[in-house]
């Protein structure tokens, strides 16, 4: 179980010494990801989802709040407990050292692991073959190669294999398929799903594409993040079929419709143009772009919580389910 409470993070923007602006990347985020569970952080770039993922993976510090891994509070990124969370980066091309073979890449963490667990040296190579097998690669043909000799999809599998060398409890996949060829993306998603089922590794998906989040499993939880705040949270299926926050609705409306194969949703929500994000609002963070805003939205800020008649948590004064998702015409 990995959970966080009230996580905040502020970045200082570089600029002149005197007028250094600060950006609130996270404004008190709570999350719980059970052992073997799945969760997805959804939102536009700059919403804080990647920062949160990096904090959870121990690659970034946080300002206030508390993160606990299996009940133990962890603060410093140097804490060894953070090694239980492994990040799968977006770019499989820079995630592997081009001057090292796959064997060398896997050996380094395995040697460390062998020392920690007092395993014999022979275990290292066996395990290297094993993790490559786990991610669906043929160990014999891959192990002696350099990254440039592998396709993007294969590299991403090697990256996942490397993460598995430390027996992680959770994998954080940050847009892990966006730089991979379309026909191979699903293979990576399927692999993560499969690892979850077989090894009991929990998976945290960070993406701007809600449809990929759906692939990870029906028991997964969806966190929709906007400007550092979770604005809707619930099970994947509930949020896709009955989103109540206008921002979630605009995200879902923006997914391209495969005309001919699908029928667009009848009530698409198109947000007004994104305005200067540097401006701090007193009210709802989404109010300026929200087509349904009222006076109330501009003065008070809604907090994430449950209201009557809505199964999922949300942060909206006027929650209303809208039919925005394209429907499948039932072919292929």
């Amino acid at each position: 179980m990995i959970s966080g409470k009230g996580i905040t993070k502020t970045f200082k923007q570089r600029g002149s010494v005197l007028a250094g602006r600060t950006v609130q990347a996270l404004r008190g985020v709570d999350f719980q990801i059970p052992k073997g569970g799945a969760a997805s952080f959804i939102g536009e770039s700059g919403c804080g989802k990647t920062t949160l993922g990096r904090i959870i993976a121990g690659l970034e510090t946080y300002d206030t709040g508390e993160i606990t891994i299996d009940g133990v509070s962890v603060t410093s990124p140097k804490d060894r407990l953070f090694r239980k969370v492994q990040m799968i980066h977006q770019d499989p091309y820079s995630a592997l050292n081009p001057t090292r073979t796959i064997h060398q890449t896997l050996r380094a963490p395995l040697e460390l692991r062998a020392k920690q667990t007092r395993r014999p040296k022979s275990w290292i190579d066996e395990r290297a073959h094993e993790v490559l097998g786990l991610v669906g690669l043929d160990p014999a043909s891959v192990i002696g190669r350099y990254p440039h000799q592998l396709s993007g999809g294969m590299r991403q599998r090697v990256v996942i294999a490397r993460a598995l060398t430390v027996d992680p409890e959770m994998l954080v996949a940050d847009e892990a398929t966006s730089m991979i060829d379309v026909s191979l993306r699903l293979g990576i998603l399927a692999l993560l799903k499969d690892l979850r089922e077989r090894l009991g590794v929990s998976v945290l998906f960070i993406t701007h594409d809600v449809a990929t989040a759906r692939y990870i499993g029906d028991d997964g939880e969806l966190y929709v993040i906007y400007r550092g705040q979770v604005i809707e949270r619930g099970s994947v299926d509930t949020i896709i079929s009955d989103p109540v926050h206008p921002y979630t609705q605009s995200l879902l409306s923006a997914i391209p419709v495969l005309h001919g194969l699908e029928e667009p949703g009848p009530e698409p929500v198109v947000p007004t143009e994104a305005l200067d994000a540097g401006h701090e609002d007193a009210g709802c963070l989404f109010a300026r772009r929200c087509p349904f805003r009222t006076e109330e939205c501009e003065t008070g800020r809604p907090v994430l919580g449950l209201t009557e008649g809505v199964p999922q948590e949300h942060a909206c004064f006027h929650p209303k389910s809208r039919d925005v998702v394209a429907t499948h015409l039932g072919r292929v």
């Binding site: 090694r83 820079s94 050292n97 040296k121 190579d125 440039h148 430390v166």
Partner: protein
């Protein structure tokens, strides 16, 4: 299993040298460069052995123009110029090699540490580097020459090396700063690998072409610097070397006005030119040698 392991790392090493050979063969110019550099190395190591410690002089044949007997003529004491170039090469090349080694080792170590650790250490080290960069090398050498005789090439190399690492340190630091943001470095940190591993096994190999290039270029720089110093005559003529030869050719044999002394002037110049050429031709291959993608293609 461990036998399998050793054999794989041995295979990688063998593949590396096979790759280097392939890269060198790709362009004939690189082979020429290698031959030139090997030639100079041979000359520096074994050259002086073929000649007596005191080269025979000949008062009857002073400042001769090039001939079959003396390819580059003779100096004002009647010694063979080619023999002078060869016996003088050891000092020049040895001190240049020492300079290059110190420049690169010191520069890389400081740059890597500074760029990787960042924070306080970075600030301190970079201030030192900046201070060092502002010390003008030539006046310092002049001052040092009054107390030190630089008779020993290693001394010479040491001083030039200690004066020269600043630029490399700055450049390596910049490279480190950009590399440390790469995914594979972050992944290594996330996996809990040691700093020694990250710097030695992940960062350093990625910078190898860059460091090798700097090293080769530092050799030419060092040759110019010390030949220049000796030519200017600011260092005492304690030994035969190319700089001293140039100085004598111009100021003693009057090579600028006496055509017969032209060989005396040209021989050391040609040697420097040839060495530079060899290095420039080889530098071109560094990227391909250390980048597995370019190497294997």
């Amino acid at each position: 299993m461990s036998i399998v392991l050793e054999s794989t790392s041995a295979t990688i090493r063998r593949n590396f040298w096979n790759g280097v050979w392939r890269v060198m063969k790709r362009k004939p110019s690189r082979m020429v460069g290698v031959v030139i550099i090997l030639g100079f190395a041979f000359m520096g190591v074994f050259g002086p052995m073929f000649f007596p410690a005191q080269l025979p002089d000949n008062p009857d044949a002073i400042t001769q123009p090039p001939s079959w007997e003396h390819w580059f003529g003779t100096d004002p004491q009647g010694r063979d110029v080619l023999a002078l170039v060869i016996t003088g090469s050891r000092y020049v090349l040895l001190s240049a090699a020492v300079t290059a080694l110190i420049t690169v080792v010191l520069g890389t170590a400081i740059g890597l540490y500074s760029g990787f650790k960042r924070g306080r250490w970075d600030t301190v080290l970079m201030r030192i580097t900046d201070m060092k960069l502002t010390i003008p090398g030539l006046p310092l050498l002049l001052v040092l020459a009054t107390v030190w005789k630089f008779g020993n090439p290693i001394q010479m190399g040491l001083v030039l090396g200690l004066l020269g690492w600043g630029g490399v340190a700055r450049a390596v630091r910049a490279q480190t700063l950009s590399l440390r943001e790469r995914g594979f470095i972050e992944a290594a940190r996330g996996l809990g690998l040691s700093t020694t591993h990250i710097i030695g096994k992940e960062l350093l190999p990625s910078m190898a072409p860059y460091i090798a290039m700097n090293m080769l270029i530092a050799v030419t720089g060092a040759v110019y610097a010390q030949v220049g110093l000796f030519f200017l005559g600011v260092l005492p003529y304690e030994s035969d070397n190319w700089g001293v030869m140039l100085n004598l050719a111009v100021f003693q044999a009057g090579a600028m006005i006496t055509p017969t002394a032209l060989g005396y002037l040209l021989a050391p110049l040609l040697a420097i030119l040839l060495l530079t050429l060899g290095i420039v031709l080889v530098v071109d291959a560094m990227d391909e040698i250390f980048n597995p993608r370019l190497r294997e293609e």
